[in-house]
Each structure stands twice: as C-alpha cells, then as structure tokens.
Amino acid sequence: MSNQNMQTREEIIKLQSVQALRQTMDDYFSRLKDATETGRKKIAWCTSVGPAELLYSMGFEVYFPENHGAMLGAGKNADKYIPTAVAHGYSPEICSYLTSDIGAFIQNETPLQKMGFKSVPKPDILVYNTNQCREVGDWFSFYAKHFNVPVLGIYTPLGINELSAVVIDNISKQLQALVPELEKIADQKFDIDKFREAVNLSHDGCVLWREVLETAMHKPAPINFFDAAIHMGPIVVMRGTQYAIDYYKILKDELENRIENHIGAVPQEKHRIYWEGMPLWFKLSSMAKLFAKLDSCIVASTYCNSWVFDDLDGNDPFNSSALAYSKLFIVRSADAKQEVLEQLMSDFSVDGIIYHEAKTCPRNSNNCFGMQSRANSNNKIPYLELNGDLNDPRCYSEEQSVIAIETFIQQLAGN
C-alpha cells in the first residue's frame, strides 16, 4: 500500500436481492410479532439445527435464539450484554451467543424492539438439539425456567463417524417422542402429511441454498462468505416453509445473472479463500472491505455450508430428518470433517484457508484440534489461524488480525 499514486479501486457491487431478503425477514418477524400479540399461534423456540420442520408442521411460529445472538453480534452490541450474563454466573469463556442473548434479556433489550416487539417472543415451548453443542441445553433451560414452560431436547451423540442405522434410529425415535409432548402445547394434532410437506419444503430450500453457495465455484465468485452469512437468514429461520424457497429463487437468479455478466462479489478476484469456523459477526462489514481491498474472495465456508440438509425426504420424514441433522458438520468425527473440508476446498478451487479460532466456540474452531496441520499435510493449501470470536469483540485484536490477513494474502501471492 502507498499514499502515493493511490489506485482507483472498483467498488463492491451490492446484491440487489438484499431488498427481498429484508422483506422476507421482516415478514418472518411480523408473523412472530402477531403470534406474540394476538396469541393466535403458539410460539416454539428452536435451536438453529433443531427440528424446525416438525414445529412448523404443527402450526407453531418458530423463533431461533441463535439468530437473535447473531443479530446482537452483527449490531455490535454483544459486548454491552455479555458482562451482564457473566455477572449472573455465566462464564465469559462459554458461547457468546448465549451470554449476549441472556445478558440482553436480563437488560430487557433486543434489536427486535426496533420492529415493535416489547421483548423477545414469549415461548410456549422450547426445543433444542445438542448436535451443535451442549450449551444450547443450558441456554434454553434458562428461558424455560424464566417463562415456566416446557423444554424438550434431542441428544445427538458427538463425533459421529459412520452415520449408522443405530445412530439414525436413535435420533429418529427421539424426534418421534417429541410429538406427544408438542401436541400438549400445539393447537393442532400432529399430521404426518403436514410434516412430510414441511420436510419436503425444507429439502427444496436446502437444495436452493446449496445451489446459491455453489455459484461461488465460478470464477469470479458472484457471492462471498460475508454476503452468504447475511443471506443465510431464511434457511436458518424459515427452513420447512415456502418463504425460504421463494427467497432463494430470487437470490439464485441474481447470482446466475452475475455469472453471465462476469460480476464478482470482489471486483478483482485474485485469491480464493475458504473460511473455517464462525463469522466474526461484529466485523462482517469491515472484513468484507478488507478482503475486497486485497483482491481476495472468501468463496466457501464451513459455517454457511452447514445449512445444507439435502438428505431430508418427505417420504421418510423422521428417519431422513435424523440423518440430515446428524450429518451436520459440527457433530461429525474429525476424519469425517476433514473429508468434507478437503472436498469443499477442492470443489471451490481455493488457494488458502483461514481458520477462525472463536474463543467461546471451540467446537466450531477445528484448528483447536489440529485440523489445520492434518489438512495441510494432505492438500498443501496454505492456512492462517485467526484468533477472534463470533460475538465477543474483547477476544479480537483488530490490528494484529489485519496484519496477519494482509501477510497471508501476500504469502499466497508468492510473497
């Protein structure tokens, strides 16, 4: 870089679909708000890789605290709330989604207040799946006690290598066992056909989301990780509904149009990067600008690719849900994860990989367990380890990280 002869750089061209995304998310929150205010529909809280299809099929509006946690992070407010949760006995070393979410709740603040909510939507029931982590159980139990409502859990074994019939059958039975408990709260009886329909909608939404992500196999990639982290909202909170499908058709059309017109997410894509681990929600925008300035596009990520559940099948809804949700990257064995990572790095033609070690989410930070060395000895793709966090900015050093990223890109360019 120089302060002489500053090059005029092309501007990042923003995705037009963001308008439709905003509308889709606004409508989702409007439905939740309506349910909160009128009581016309029951509200279930669900973990982001929990049984959303089952809940939607039984007439619940579904609220996702992890999505709320990400909103707090992206809004750069998490550090205002984490200390409150810590003061109430939660360690600053555990999931900062949890601590920022519970801290905000204790302070009676939420970004949803800008949309007219008084507080987060009061749950009638909470349902979690431990496929992501054990913290979700603690997190949901806090709210179950506070609101005096039932909390149900699906317990998925960790480190699944082979997706054996025993594992799938176990999860499937746990899913089925939820039904009578949910029926006690829901306004309607379980209807297998509605569940099949929700599972099929979820499948179709996931396929579209995968196709959206796969457009980044093209050079230049029409979408990058920072876009995808924002545009994944519908697949997280509206999986199992037509709304997600409708939105991803719009986004996919725009990306295909970009490919035809050679429009890249990064104006002058020279380096293609894989992002392993969670986003730094509080740095999404500045990171996007930094990588664009370095002519580097983050073309694929474990995080965004984790919401592709294309094993879902309405013909066998319980078993296929069990399979899809146990196939989730984070719950797999180190060998299975490495296979997935290496395949993605190859499919997306990446030059380098960044491992984000999130201080409060070691399970989502595979460099904590030596993945970087093992993958590198196989595929020789250079890597960078970045210390940070999903939500807690106190775990992140901006200056040090920028130097590391700039150096890494120079390393990829052959110094």
């Binding site: 870089m1 120089s2 302060n3 002489q4 250079p382 890597y383 960078l384 380890e385 210390n387 775990c395 992140y396 050093s397 200056e399 040090q400 130097i403 590391a404 700039e406 150096t407 890494f408 120079q410 390393q411 052959g414 110094n415």
Partner: protein, 248 residues
C-alpha cells in the same frame, strides 16, 4: 548519493534503517513510538537527514505502517522481516520474532518465501510487554533483568499464561523465599515456552525483535532447546531493513 529509509513502526518502538544504493545497511535508529507514529518516524528521519540525503518515499511496516503524512510505501512486517533474514542467511529457516506486543513465528523456505507464519494469541504472554509489566511490579528496571538472570541458581517455573496471574504466581514465590534471579530466569523461560508452542521448529532458527538483544539470557535459554540458532546483529531492525529490500 541518496539513501533509502525503512521504518518499522511497532507498538513499543519505532525502528529505522538507513540503506545505501547497494542495499547495504548503513545506520539504525530506535525511538519510543509513544502515541504519535508521525512524530516517532520524523524523529528518526530527521536524525538520518543530519548526515545523509534521503530518498522519497520511505518504506514502512508495523502497526503504524500506513499512518505517515510523508510519502510512504507500506509492507507487511512479516514479509519484510523474512526478506531481511533470507538476505542475511540465504537458507531456509524458522524465525521467532519477540517484540513489544507481538511474538511471531515464521517459516521461510529455501526460495526465501514465507511458507507459514503465526502470531501470538491476543495476550502479552511471550512478549516484551510481559517483561515490562513484571518489572513494574517488582520495581526493578528491565535493564537489570539480564544481570539478575545470570545469577540464577535454579530454574523455577512460571505457569500462568496471563501476565496478571503470572504476577500473582511470582508473589507466591517471593513469599516462599524464591530468589529474584531464579524468578527472573523463570520469567525468561516462560517467554521461551510461549514461543516454542507456536509451531514445531525443525531447522535453523533465527531470533529477532527487540527483546533478544536487550535480554541475552533469553537467547541462552533458547540455545538450551535449539542448538542451531542465531540472534543476528541489529535483529531489532531487520523488518525495517527488509522493507527497503522488498522495494528494490
């Protein structure tokens, strides 16, 4: 003859290297960075200007690399340091750079390119700040550290990663009658441990940064683990020098 200047604007110190047209390092200067990168850089440039005609732009690296108001070309300090080290040794090697706020591990291949690098985790452990904090608590100057370390009779272990907790640990040692030299060598060993855990180091190791020349006993402690090691002259100025070499 016009001379080129490389400036490494670090968190604690700003280092300047004056280089002639044959890329020979002629002089070095070091000042405290303080709160104003421009003031620190200008002080160095003005000192060089007394005896030499200086060429524009200057070449920069470090935290303040893009802050100067005079014409500059900025570089990654890791790439600059690697360039200078390879220029010096012309062989593949590992570099451990111990600075005021950062510790870096760099693996340089036999072409002089960076194959891999790593920076310390976001805390002071293993950096010059660690020594400064402890010196403040013990009410001795950092300049005295090395002489105390030479008098050590036993190598005590300081386990804490955190500087504050390390100080608590040291207070416990003081209460138990551990001698100051033994504590200081423990502090040095703690820095060595933090560096060693950054990466496996398999080949020739170069120690750089401001800490090793100020604390030669740290270099000696490194030598107990790595027999093939050098701490070159002007190791604190290598990144500044490398900035110039990179822009040839």
């Amino acid at each position: 003859m016009k001379y080129k200047i490389g400036i490494d604007l670090g968190s604690s110190y700003t280092k300047g290297a004056l280089v002639d047209e044959n890329n020979k390092l002629i002089e070095v200067r070091c000042v405290k960075t303080g709160y104003d990168f421009n003031r620190a850089a200008n002080k160095i440039i003005d000192e060089f200007k007394v005896n030499y005609e200086i060429q524009d732009p200057v070449f920069t690296c470090g935290y303040g690399r893009d802050q100067l108001k005079i014409p500059f070309i900025s570089n990654s300090e890791i790439i600059a340091l690697s360039k200078a080290v390879f220029d010096l040794y012309k062989r593949k090697c590992s570099v451990v750079d111990i600075g005021g706020q950062d510790t870096k591990y760099i693996k340089i291949n036999d072409q002089g390119q960076v194959d891999k690098f790593k920076m310390n985790r976001k805390c002071a452990a293993g950096t010059g700040s660690f020594i400064e904090e402890i010196a403040y608590r013990l009410d001795i100057s950092t300049e005295e550290f090395n002489d105390f370390a030479k008098q050590a009779t036993e190598e005590v272990k300081i386990n804490s990663f955190c500087t504050v907790f390390a100080i608590s640990e040291i207070i416990g040692m003081i209460k138990n009658g551990t001698s100051l030299p033994n504590i200081i060598i423990g502090i040095y060993n703690s820095i060595v441990s933090r560096c060693v855990e950054m990466s496996p180091i398999e080949d020739f190791l170069v120690l750089s940064g401001g800490v090793p020349p100020r604390h030669p006993m740290i270099v000696e402690q490194f030598k107990k683990i790595f027999h093939n090691l050098e701490n070159p002259e002007n190791s604190q100025f290598l990144a500044a020098y490398g900035c110039v070499l990179l822009n040839n």
